[in-house]
Symmetry: C2
DNA sequence: ACTCATAAAGTGAATAGATCACTTGATCTC
DNA sequence: GAGATCAAGTGATCTATTCACTTTATGAGT
C-alpha cells in the first residue's frame, strides 16, 4: 500500500539495517561488498553507496578502503551527536557544560541507586587510574562520566551522556588541555565514585553537581579562541588519533568525530 | 596542510556545511543544485550525492525530487536520534521512559528557575489547548515537553529532550494511543506549567517526576507486541503517519500545519 | 623450512555520460 | 482571467569503467 513513498536509496538503507539485524551482525563484522549488495537488490553501485553513506553518517556502518564495509558502533546506538557541526564558540561550550550540570547529577543519583556491578567496577578503574599523560586525562574523564551513567543500568541514559560528551568534544579537549586542574578533577571523581559505591544517591548527586560546577568555572575562566582563529589552534594541539582502537568494551572513541581541516574560515559568527 | 585522510565525499560534506554557514542559510533555504555543486568542486554528481546523502541522514539537508536540495532542520541541531533503529520491544520503550524519568525532572527544575518568557508562553499554549483528536494529543504532549525544556534557556537541553522523544517515537505513539489517559495527561501538564510559571523549581521537579511515573505505569500495563513476530506485526498495526518521519519539522514551524486540517495550531509564524 | 618480496584478486573511491521522473513557472489557449 | 500545456531545471538512477588500497596466497631466495 503505502509502501514505497521512500526513495530507493532510503529503502535500501533500511534493508541493509534489516540485514544487520536478521544476521545478528555486531560492530566489527563485515558486510557484503558494494557490488554484491548491488546485485542482490538489483540496483547499481552508486545507489548502494548512497545508502551506505547515509548509514555511515550515523555510525551504522564503516568503510575501509580496499578492505570492505563493516558494521559500526552506531548500529546499536539510539542517540548521537551531529557529526557535522559548524563553528564553536565559548558560548556553545558553556551551554554544553550547563546542560551537563542539569542532567548529570540526576544520572549520578540514579547510578547510586542501581549500582550495576560491572559498571561500578569500570567506574572505580576510571577514577583510580591516576594522572596519565595530557591527552589521556580527557579520555579518562570521558570514561568516568560514561561509566557513571552506565551504572544506572539504563543504556539509553548512558548513550545520552555519551552523545552529550561528543558534542563539542574538540573544544572541550582544548579547554581541559589548558585550564583544567587534573589533580582536582581526579579527586572529585574519586569522591563521586565512593558515593556511588556506597549507594548514597544524595551525595552522588551533590558531588556531581559540584564537580561540573568547577568545570563550568574553568570554562568561564578560559579565553576561548574566537571564531576565525580557531583552526590553527586546534589543528596542532589536538592530533587526530584520539581514536578508538585501544580499550575494551564500551570505548566509543568520543573524540574521533571528524578532523575537518579545510581552510578558509572566513565568516564571523553572528 | 590539511592532512586529508578524509574521503573526498567526507570532505565535500564538510565543505557544504561550510557553505551553509558562511552564507547564513537557514532551514528551508535552497542549496545549489547537485550539478552546480559538482562543477564547483570539480567532482562528479554521484560523489556530490554521496556527500548530500550523508548530510541528509542527520537532517542537515533535505531533498525534494524535481525541486532542489534544501537546508534541513538538523543543520542547527547538535543531538539527534538515530533514524535507523532496528526492532522495538516493550523493554526498549520502558527503558526510554525510565531515562526520561531520570532526566526530565531536573530539566523541569531548571525551567522553573530560568523561565524563558517565550518558551513559557508556548508551554501555556501546549497545556491549555485541550483534548484534541487522537493523533493530535501525542503531538501536543511532545510540544509540551519540548517547550518545558526550552524554558530552561539552554538550547542543548531542549535538543536532548527532543532527541529523546524521537527515539521509539513510533512505539510511543502506539502505547499512548491505546493506554494513556489523555485527560489525566492534560491535567498533569497544567499543574507542571503552573509550577514553572510560579518559579517553583521543587514543585516542577516533583510534578514532572510524578507525571512520567504515571506514563511509566501505562507502559508497564501495555501488552506490547513481542520481539520475533514484530516484523509483520509492526508493519500493519502501526501505519506510518505521525511517527518519527515528520517529527522534525515541528521546530522549524513552516511545514507543521500541513499534516492535519485541525488548525488551532499556535502559529509559529516567522 | 622459513622469511620476505610480489603478484593477483577483491573491494572501495571516483569518474563519465546518459536517461527517466518530478516540480515549477511561464506561456498559451479558451 | 482561469485553466490547460509545455519547457527548463533538478533530483533519482542507470550503465560502464578506471584508479587506489588491502589482503592473501604464491613463489622466490636464503
Amino acid at each position: 500500500m503505502s509502501r514505497s513513498e521512500l526513495s530507493l536509496s532510503e529503502h535500501l538503507a533500511d534493508s541493509i539495517v534489516e540485514i544487520i539485524r536478521t544476521e545478528r551482525l555486531v560492530p566489527g563484522d563485515a558486510l557484503a561488498s558494494s557490488r554484491d549488495l548491488a546485485r542482490r537488490f538489483d540496483v547499481t553501485t552508486p545507489t548502494v553507496r548512497e545508502a551506505l553513506r547515509r548509514l555511515e553518517a550515523t555510525g551504522v556502518v564503516e568503510f575501509r578502503h580496499g578492505s570492505g564495509t563493516y558494521v559500526g558502533p552506531g548500529s546499536e546506538r539510539r542517540l548521537l551527536a551531529n557529526p557535522h557541526l559548524p563553528r564553536g564558540s565559548r558560548e556553545s561550550v558553556l551551554e554544553l557544560v550547563e546542560a551537563r550540570l542539569v542532567l548529570e547529577p540526576a544520572v549520578a543519583a540514579a547510578a547510586a541507586r542501581t549500582r550495576v556491578p560491572e559498571a561500578v567496577a569500570r567506574l572505580e578503574a576510571a577514577s583510580t587510574n591516576a594522572l596519565h599523560p595530557p591527552q589521556e586525562s580527557l579520555r579518562q574523564s570521558v570514561h568516568f562520566h560514561v561509566a557513571l551513567a552506565a551504572a544506572s543500568g539504563n543504556a539509553l541514559l548512558r548513550e545520552a551522556v555519551e552523545a552529550l560528551l561528543q558534542v563539542r568534544a574538540r573544544e572541550q579537549v582544548e579547554i581541559r588541555h589548558r585550564y583544567n586542574d587534573r589533580a582536582r578533577d581526579h579527586a572529585e571523581h574519586v569522591e563521586i565514585f565512593a558515593a556511588v559505591r556506597d549507594g548514597d544517591a544524595e551525595a552522588a548527586e551533590r558531588l556531581t553537581r559540584e564537580h561540573l560546577g568547577s568545570i563550568r568555572e574553568a570554562v568561564l575562566a578560559a579565553d576561548f579562541p574566537e571564531v576565525g582563529a580557531e583552526d590553527e589552534g586546534r589543528a596542532d594541539s589536538a592530533p587526530e588519533e584520539a581514536g578508538a582502537r585501544d580499550a575494551g568494551p564500551m570505548d566509543t572513541g568520543a573524540a574521533d568525530a571528524g578532523a575537518t581541516g579545510a581552510g578558509a574560515e572566513t565568516g564571523v559568527a553572528r
